[in-house]
């Protein structure tokens, strides 16, 4: 590409990997959200179970899903994301 952008820059490999992690997380998020909402929520209302006063489908899908994603995102960032420099003055001067 132009402007001295080297596609084989090792930082771009890291960036690409992290973008994939984002896609995987959003898929997990969606499956969890959809599964509990329409898995448990499609029963008739009289048969709903309750957690902390909320219908079980809602609790697991929305409240549980929120907590799950915060945990997963934190773990992903802490253990899978790498810190890279954004400015490359050092590279250019060397």
């Amino acid at each position: 590409m132009k402007h001295g952008i080297d596609e084989h820059d090792s930082r771009f490999k890291i960036a690409r990997r992290e973008a994939w992690i984002g896609i995987i997380l959003v898929i997990i998020n969606f499956v969890w959200w959809y599964g509990f909402a329409y898995g448990l929520g499609s029963e008739s209302v009289e048969e709903y179970g309750y957690v902390f006063g909320l219908p079980a489908w809602f609790f697991y899908s929305c409240v549980g899903g929120f907590v799950l994603m915060v945990v997963l995102v934190t773990l992903a960032v802490k253990y899978l994301f790498k810190e890279v420099p954004f400015d490359d003055e050092q590279e250019e001067t060397s």
Binding site: M1, K2, H3, G4, I5, E7, D9, R11, F12, I14, A15, R16, E18, A19, I21, G22, I23, L25, V26, N29, F30, W33, Y34, A37, Y38, G41, S42, V45, E46, Y48, Y50, F52, G53, L54, P55, W57, F58, S61, C62, V63, G65, F66, M69, V70, V73, T74, V77, F81, K82, E83, V84, P85, F86, D87, D88
Partner: protein
């Protein structure tokens, strides 16, 4: 007038002004006016970055329209709104480090700068600047109407004076302080949104006699309210899921959000922002929409959905605390509007004027022009908002979908697909926006999915086909030459 509500609101405005003035001191010391005014010198830390993304994204619809819809629809609407949890981590992870590095190399100040350098095409620049100006202008008008209505309902001022008060407060700090003022005030506004949600949620649960009590009230009124299908069973799984495109992953294409993904200091700020952003946006969306549902048990029979949130606040909280909580939707609206105002101004000054009218303008001239354009835009929005169009949520989502259809693929594919070129980008924008408008006007929600889904698919196909055909044409003409 209810002074105990108004005083905390005024206090909030004063704090915002002080931040604006403080941020404007950076403009005097910075050696690059454009970088500083439109991007805060790329110095945002993790907390400010998370807050400015969340607060810019969370708008009148999150605090007024959303809870109102949840009041009508029940828990199914809270489910729908939780698609927005993804915005907290997805945008920064997808654009992520590559966008940060590439925009620094390009010295890009706006999203259009990035597209200009990436595709090297005048048409890409003009099309994208035009979509930003048209769509964000209408989004801004909708938000101003929301802000003025809110002040009107809280203070009892007339709509016009409320609008004037709102417009004046936003314009002053945006004009003098630029992006840094916008981001810093967003941090304060985002914190107020978070705290306000927390206070109101607790107060509403107490006023309703606890969650089990509220839920049984709702079940007694209409069992559908606690099902995922909406009050009349109209929220189908397919329709609700399609909001993951509109308000979840599609947000990657919103210029007011993407520009923030080039404003942070380093990888550490990005990492912190991803975690904080997910927590804050998830909590605000879950909390505010639940509040809307619970309000039905506390205050049954509200006719105008947009008034649910202010009325509930006045009902369940002592008035001094109500003022603080009502500062939250104010903050949500202001933090969206300030970013839009600055973005539209940057599209006019940087993307159109400096690119095509006067590329060699002096720093001083750019400075005056930036202040001037921001002011004129503010006044124009004010005039439009004087005779307000009706549904806040509708206008807001209209511009949302249009911008997403225009930008998502030129940005994402531009970053990650090397063969993407200007033919693809132009085709994608034209097809995206064009099909969005046609479907929106003539076949809304085709096959029971949200209008935005098909245009986003079409624009992807257009991008790929356009790039491939364009490449062959380039090759062919190279052989001829």
């Amino acid at each position: 007038m209810n002074w105990s509500v108004i005083v905390p609101l005024l206090l909030f405005l004063v704090i915002i002004f002080i931040i604006g003035f403080w941020a404007s001191t950076y403009l005097k010391t910075s050696d690059s006016f454009l970088q500083e005014y439109f991007l805060g010198g790329r110095q945002l830390g993790g907390f400010i970055l998370a807050m400015t993304m969340t607060a810019t994204y969370g708008s009148a619809s999150s605090f007024i329209g959303g809870p109102g819809a949840a009041y009508t629809q029940g828990l199914g609407w809270v489910l729908l709104s939780m698609a927005q949890l993804a915005t907290g981590y997805f945008v920064l992870m997808i654009l992520g480090k590559k966008f940060a590095i590439v925009t620094r190399k390009y010295k890009a100040v706006t999203l259009v700068d990035f597209l200009k350098e990436r595709y090297e095409s005048k048409w890409v620049v003009l099309l994208s600047a035009a979509s930003i100006i048209i769509f964000l202008f209408s989004a801004m008008a909708a938000q101003w109407v929301g802000g003025a209505r809110l002040i009107e309902s809280i203070t009892g001022l007339s709509y016009t004076s409320a609008l004037f008060l709102f417009a004046a407060s936003v314009m002053i700090y945006v004009i003098i302080g630029g992006f840094r003022a916008v981001a810093l005030t967003d941090a304060v506004q985002g914190s107020i949104m978070f705290i306000g949600t927390l206070i109101l949620l607790i107060a509403t649960i107490i006023a309703g006699g606890g969650i089990p009590n509220i839920i049984s009230d709702l079940t007694a009124e209409n069992p559908n309210l606690i099902s995922p299908y909406g009050f009349d069973g109209g929220l189908t799984p397919l329709y609700v899921s399609s909001f993951w495109i509109l308000v979840g992953v599609g947000v990657v294409g919103l210029p007011q959000i993407t520009v923030r993904a080039m404003s942070y200091k380093n990888a550490k700020s990005m990492h912190r922002a991803i975690i904080i952003g997910t927590v804050v946006i998830g909590f605000i969306m879950l909390g505010m929409h639940l509040i809307g549902v619970f309000a039905r048990s506390v205050l049954p029979g509200i006719e105008v959905a947009d008034t649910v949130m202010p009325l509930l606040t006045m009902e369940v909280l002592p008035s001094w605390l109500a003022g603080l909580v009502l500062a939250a939707p104010m903050a949500a609206i202001m933090s969206t509007v300030d970013s839009l105002l600055l973005l539209v101004s940057s599209a006019v000054v940087k993307d159109v004027y400096l690119n095509y009218i006067k590329p060699d303008a002096s720093n001083q001239r750019v400075k005056n022009l930036s202040f001037g354009v921001t002011t004129v835009l503010g006044v124009l929005v004010f005039l439009i908002a004087l005779s307000p169009p009706d549904l806040i949520i509708w206008l807001n989502l209209f511009s949302f979908g249009g911008l997403e259809a225009a930008f998502i693929w030129p940005v994402v594919m531009g970053l990650y697909w090397r063969s993407g070129n200007k033919y693809g980008a132009i085709a994608s924008m034209v097809v995206g926006v064009g099909s969005y408008m046609i479907i929106h006007l003539y076949f809304p929600n085709p096959f029971g999915i949200h209008t935005v889904v098909l245009p986003i698919l079409f624009s992807l196909v257009a991008f790929v086909l356009g790039s491939m055909i364009g490449k062959q044409r380039q090759k062919a003409s190279a052989y001829v030459a």
